[in-house]
């Protein structure tokens, strides 16, 4: 097998991976970024609205208010030390991007443009704040291209169109790199590194109706589960309130930040009933549930009553063209309406995974071990949507995901530098390092009676039906039973294409294995958590239950076990924000 050796390895070419890679490459280390698509086609490019930092360019603001809003937005499941770290580092992270050349939109005086987003407040729950820094409605694209250019300048080595298969660990648990598959040649690779970071993004394609690009198949999560490590808080999936109905493409919250609002079939601004204070700018989970209720109770729009409308024509064509040009284009192309003239049909769409690979503030992957519940896995890091640090708790606020990428990407990069200095030589590679991966590849060289695409479709429909915005024990158990049947079918699946070169069917089969693992982690964790918190809504347990459930869940593949670990309620320097009823 072809062996490549680097100081540090980054799996995933999105914003988190590129920010960490830059930290390492600028320090002179030999860094590889492995990405299954060209890095600038990573899903970070889709982030429309912006990156949140309390710069105070438009209105008074303080990072402590951002901290409070993030704790509250996450329904107190977020770790307050990590949230303080992120909010405090936010301004410097944004200015750093500005200095790298990210073309932020500008206010008249030249400062970075900021817009209001849902869940943002002044004075710890007071009036609406204006905190999200934006490059028009293409902030993610600007961020990704800026970081990519900086990495090219720093001589980061890119392995494009290479699919990561499995983590390689030695008998003592050290991560020594990954196995991978070169998509173009079909050749397996062993990529060795003294520090490995997973930045593989989310897994939103596990749902039928999703805003996520097709690449979001939870590859890093599958790798971690196969390595015997746990996933944290996998029951928490954010359904973005405003996906284009029937398609899933996202209409950014910036639309409501700029003054757009939602209407039901009676022309009522229904968010006034659900969130009298914040109305359309309440937290995403609150707005998504409100829309789901309006639709379920017969107040949806259209011939099937299956969507509500986002109205923004009152903003005027000039404002829409200047502030939301991409949204106008999306609406015309995928909904057939010009929002300067007509409202956009919208419905909740699976958007973001709050859970993921458990990490500490340095991005080190942590897992229960001999000496405690959060021991670092040596040599292994995770950052971004695939990770759970946990700053988003039970529900992420808009504008905090790009911030998460750059703050913890930088933090992980810095800690990886320490790891490289403390471990100057590679550890011995086990003789059977690639055995499990080669067995997986050999399995997909066999014929079978079931088709991968059919199972993938069935999986996504199952998750949408049984694990969507509203859940009950009965729906989740039915979902698990269906998943058992799908796994049995997967065991019988085979490929009709046995070629090596660009065998995309084989990649889709490997992605399905990862999605299956994510689905099981989600269903089992959602069944275990008998309360409603943030984005996890159990109709049979409608209240938040802090006495029993103010804790993180830890799912392990062995025996489908769900363990728990405490939420860190103590920030680094601030007073703890005590749990209270979450009202907007």
């Amino acid at each position: 097998m072809n062996l490549r050796r680097f100081d540090a390895l980054i799996v995933g070419g999105g914003g988190a991976g590129l920010r960490a890679a830059l930290q390492l490459a600028r320090s002179g280390y030999k860094v590889a970024v492995v990405s299954k698509v060209f890095p600038t086609r990573s899903h970070t490019v889709s982030a429309q609205g912006g990156i949140t930092a309390a710069l105070g360019n438009v209105d008074d603001d303080r990072w402590e208010w951002h901290f409070y809003d993030t704790v509250k937005g996450g329904d107190w499941l977020g770790d307050q030390d990590a949230i303080e770290f992120m909010c405090r580092e936010a301004a410097s992270a944004v200015y750093e991007l500005e200095h790298m050349g990210l073309p932020f939109s500008r206010l008249a005086g030249g400062k970075i443009y900021q817009r209001p987003f849902g869940g943002q407040s002044k004075n710890f729950g007071g009036e609406q704040a204006t905190r999200t820094c934006a490059a028009a409605d293409r902030t993610g694209h600007a961020l990704l291209h800026t970081l990519y250019q900086q990495n090219l300048a720093a001589r980061t080595q890119f392995f494009d169109e290479v699919f990561a298969l499995d983590l390689v660990r030695d008998a003592e648990g050290y991560c020594l790199g990954v196995t991978a598959l070169d998509i173009e040649t079909g050749e397996p690779l062993l990529i060795e590194a003294r520090a490995t970071l997973l930045a593989t993004g989310g897994a939103g394609r596990v749902f039928w109706n999703s805003s996520n690009a097709m690449i979001n198949t939870g590859d890093g999560l599958g790798m971690v589960l196969r390595a015997g490590l746990p996933l944290q808080d996998m029951e928490f999936w954010q359904f973005h309130p405003t996906g284009i109905a029937g398609v899933g493409c996202l209409i950014t919250e910036g639309v409501r930040g700029e003054g757009g609002y939602l209407l039901n079939r009676h022309g009522e601004r229904f968010m006034e009933r659900y969130a009298p204070h914040a109305r359309d700018l309440a937290g995403r989970d609150v707005v998504a549930r409100a829309i789901a209720i309006e639709i379920a109770e017969g107040r949806g729009c259209g011939p099937h009553g299956d969507y509500v409308e986002a109205k923004l024509d009152h903003l005027g064509a000039a404002v829409i063209a200047e502030k939301l040009p991409g949204i106008r284009d999306l609406s015309i192309r995928f909904a057939g309406v010009d929002p300067a003239k007509s409202p956009i049909p919208v419905a909740p769409t699976a958007h973001y995974m709050m859970g993921g690979i458990p990490t500490n503030l340095h991005g080190q992957v942590v897992a229960p071990a001999r000496f405690g519940p959060e021991e670092p896995v040596p040599g292994l890091y995770a950052v971004g949507e695939c990770a759970c640090v946990s700053v988003h708790g039970a529900n992420r606020l808009g504008g905090n995901s790009l911030l998460d990428l750059v703050v913890f990407g930088r933090a992980a990069g810095k800690h990886m530098l320490e790891t490289l200095r403390e471990n100057p030589y590679p550890r011995p590679m086990p003789a059977d390092a690639a055995a499990a991966s080669l067995a997986r590849l050999a399995r997909w060289a066999q014929p079978g009676s079931e088709r991968v695409a059919a199972i993938t479709d069935a999986l996504r429909r199952t998750m949408q039906t049984h694990c969507g915005v509203f859940r009950t024990e009965a729906t989740l158990r039915a979902g698990l039973a269906e998943l058992d049947r799908l796994e049995a079918r997967l065991a019988q699946a085979g490929l009709t294409d046995s070629s090596r070169v660009f065998n995309t069917a084989r990649i889709e089969a490997l992605e399905l294995e990862n999605l299956m693992a994510v689905a099981r982690a989600t269903l089992v964790s959602a069944l275990a958590r008998t309360e409603s918190r943030g984005a996890h809504t159990r109709e049979d347990h409608p209240q938040r239950d802090d006495a029993r459930w103010l804790k993180h869940s830890l799912y392990s593949r062995a025996g489908d076990a769900v363990d728990a670990k405490p939420v860190r309620l103590k920030p680094l320097t601030l007073e703890s924000v005590k749990p209270e009823k979450r009202v907007y």
Binding site: T40, V45, A213, S499, F502
Partner: protein, 88 residues
């Protein structure tokens, strides 16, 4: 065109934005058998653009110096108008 070359193009229709996944992947699946070699070559050049460049050029409709690419963008706009997609 070999299967490997066609699959390479199919993989490069995987983008960072769902709307481009739907449009480019849908277009290639529907038209790969009928595109002429020069049209296929232009489609590969189009796939080399960034997601935002593709989205902007689909939106703007401004004439470009590459006539083959411009014809292809017209083709994509017509395809999209005829096929507002459901998610696959």
């Amino acid at each position: 065109m070999s299967d490997g070359a066609a699959d390479r193009i199919a993989w490069r229709c995987r983008r960072g934005m769902l709307e481009l996944d739907l449009l480019l992947g849908g277009f290639w699946a529907a038209r790969r058998a009928t595109l002429q070699p020069d049209e296929t070559a232009a489609f590969e050049r189009l796939l080399g653009l960034s997601d935002r460049e593709i989205a902007d050029r689909l939106q703007a409709g401004e004439p470009q110096s590459d006539a083959e690419l411009e014809t292809l963008f017209d083709c994509l706009r017509r395809f999209e108008a005829q096929n507002i997609q459901d998610p696959p």
